[in-house]
């Protein structure tokens, strides 16, 4: 299943006709791994997932098996929430799973629910995903009609219901506690910590596993090929492949499934066909808009796994790689980026609510040539004052890239400041 340019483990059926339909998917083995998992003890499933090295693909890279293990004994009912809010600029891989292989996702979520003995699964899809939502809804209905979902699944005596959750245009509902609040019928304000893990205290105060779409879609494959084999498709600390969303100044943007830890250059040059119009590479945003920018030099020998990207001073995040060529102005990029966060701050904490607006105003002023000398320091200081002083990680998600743009491309900002 590997070749020089990658591993297609999760996505191997995407291009086959009719994969989103249950009857066709069944012919290719859909729900066989659920059957296998139902014959295992729930704790055994968690143990296998832990051993596989599967890490969260939603941004934080937390060990999936470890998270499932946090569910406290004797507290019921339990829930699983599939995070299909996919809203971080650059990230566009979950939508392919939803559109092309929804049964793989449902199967993975069911195996997770079996492992933690949950009785309901909510698939929370962002509101703008109209088409993917229709496909997933149909898949849930088909699976229910065939007895893969609902009461007494496949005669196991175990029941689990699967429902759709509805996003309505807020990025913050992708943050796991914001998602839970939204599912509870509230505005999606992230919860104060502690409690630290929804796995202990989540939906309606009950143990809840929140996992990203891609994370859960890998689970049936782990059951299929075994933990050891899965681990071998990644690094010892992060098993399995990753779906990289490649966008920006490359000849062949797209979603690429590659072993975790693949060299960034393989992704950009071999897969992506190099930089558009023969231009030079200036920088890369390696893990979605929330990650620090890396200069071309910093990308030189970079490997795309959590530890390596952190060592290079950024993060793998959602593995959304945005490629920036020499003609792109970083002060302009700063406006696009801060505009996103100013728009998406939920307004709950003052540093984030006020700070993101100020970042955008200062960045715009500089870009338009109306900047003052101290604006650059103010911008940096503002970011510093948001970082680590907020309820959820959106604060750092805007602070980190802001600081990195200024530090690494200060000359571009200075060139725009007249006085």
């Amino acid at each position: 299943m590997t070749s020089s340019n990658g591993t297609r483990l999760l996505s191997r059926n995407f291009a086959l006709p009719g994969q989103a339909n249950l009857d066709t998917a069944l012919k290719r083995g859909a729900y066989e791994m659920l059957k296998r998992a139902l014959k295992m003890k729930p704790e055994e499933v968690t143990t296998v997932v832990k051993a596989s090295g599967l890490r969260g693909h939603g941004g934080a890279g937390f060990s999936a098996g470890m998270k499932w293990g946090f569910v406290p004994k004797d507290v019921f009912p339990r829930y699983v929430c599939v995070n299909a809010d996919e809203s971080e600029p650059g990230t566009c891989k979950d939508r392919l799973i939803l559109e092309y292989d929804p049964h793989l996702l449902i199967e993975g979520a069911l195996i997770c629910a079996w492992a933690v003995q949950a009785e309901r699964i909510y698939i929370y899809v962002r509101g703008e995903y109209f088409y993917p939502t229709r496909i997933v809804q149909r898949a849930i209905d088909e699976a229910r009609a065939k007895g893969f979902v609902g009461e007494n699944i496949l005669g196991s005596g175990w029941s689990c219901h699967v429902h759709l959750g509805t996003g309505a245009g807020q990025y913050i509902c992708g943050e796991e506690t914001g998602l839970i609040e939204s599912l509870e019928g509230k505005k999606g304000w992230p919860r104060l910590k502690p409690p630290f893990y929804p796995a202990a205290v989540g939906l309606w105060g009950k143990p809840t596993i929140v996992n990203n779409v891609e994370t859960l879609a890998f689970v049936p494959r782990i059951i299929e090929i075994g933990a050891e084999k899965f681990l071998s498709y990644g690094t010892p600390k992060a098993g399995g492949p990753t779906l990289f969303s490649l966008s920006g100044s490359v000849n062949r943007p797209g979603v690429y499934e590659l072993p975790t830890g693949v060299p960034l250059k393989t992704l950009i040059y071999d897969c992506g066909g190099g930089i558009k119009d023969g231009r030079r590479l200036k920088a890369v945003i390696p893990g979605g808009s929330s990650s620090h920018i890396l200069t071309a030099e910093e990308c030189e020998n970079l490997k795309m796994d959590f530890e390596s990207v952190v060592a290079a001073g950024s993060m793998l995040g959602s593995a959304a790689v945005m490629v920036i060529d020499e003609t792109v102005s970083i002060p302009r990029l700063m406006v696009w980026m801060t505009r996103f966060y100013a728009h998406e701050s939920c307004g709950q904490c003052t540093p984030c609510r006020e700070g993101t607006g100020w970042l955008l105003r200062l960045a715009t002023r500089i870009l338009e040539g109306r900047g003052r000398r101290r604006d650059l320091d103010d911008l940096y200081e503002l970011a510093e004052n948001i970082d680590g002083k907020t309820i959820c990680a959106l604060g750092q998600a805007v602070a980190w890239p802001t600081k990195s743009y200024i530090t690494k491309f200060r000359h571009e900002f200075e060139a725009l400041i007249q006085e």
Partner: protein, 180 residues
């Protein structure tokens, strides 16, 4: 007020997807469906939602005003949501923005004189590898060029919409067959 039967039935389905004692959870999906059916959430609809869910009107409004896709005013016939965040701008969305403004004769947030189109800039629609992209109502359109944009707008004007890019085209190596 008159709530269409289809919406009432839909609301029962939504309530069914939550434990019986968690009716409040139906708020967001219910408003989403109501808006789909009625074009927006009118004050009458707010009352109906508050009553059927069993929460106060203030609570309904609090939730309603938090979510950017929910609206209290009717949108025009075609809501164009045009992405202008990083990946789309790297793929030329800023030039295209000027083009769409000229084509429709309106700016962000405005509606055309004939009441057909409302233009709204949004920050990432999750189609970054297919940038630039936009949604027209529930339809997704990718890899926009000035020509493609013109065709899409004309299609809606003439009542023969250009088929949306559904499913999302496979780009990259996903789904490629590989030698085992």
């Amino acid at each position: 007020m008159d709530i269409p039967d289809t919406l009432v039935r839909k609301s029962e389905e939504i309530f069914f997807s939550f434990p019986p004692e968690r009716r409040e959870s139906a708020l967001v999906p219910l408003m989403f469906e109501a808006q789909r059916e009625l074009g927006c959430i009118t004050p009458d609809t707010e009352h109906w939602i508050a009553e059927t869910v069993g929460v106060s009107l203030v609570k309904v409004r609090e939730v309603l005003t938090f979510y950017s896709m929910l609206r209290r005013e009717r949108a025009e016939k075609f809501l164009v949501q045009f992405c202008r965040n990083i990946s789309c701008c790297l793929a030329g969305a800023e030039d295209l923005q000027r083009h769409v403004e000229k084509k429709l004769g309106i700016r962000n947030g405005e509606t055309t004189a004939d009441g057909l189109f409302t233009l709204r800039y949004v920050e990432c629609l999750g189609g970054c590898s297919w940038a630039p992209m936009m949604l027209v109502n529930e339809m997704q359109y990718y890899q926009l060029t000035p020509e493609k944009l013109d065709r899409i707008i004309e299609g809606f004007r003439s009542g023969r919409p250009v088929p949306p890019d559904e499913p999302t085209p496979l780009l990259g190596n996903v789904g490629e067959k590989i030698a085992v």
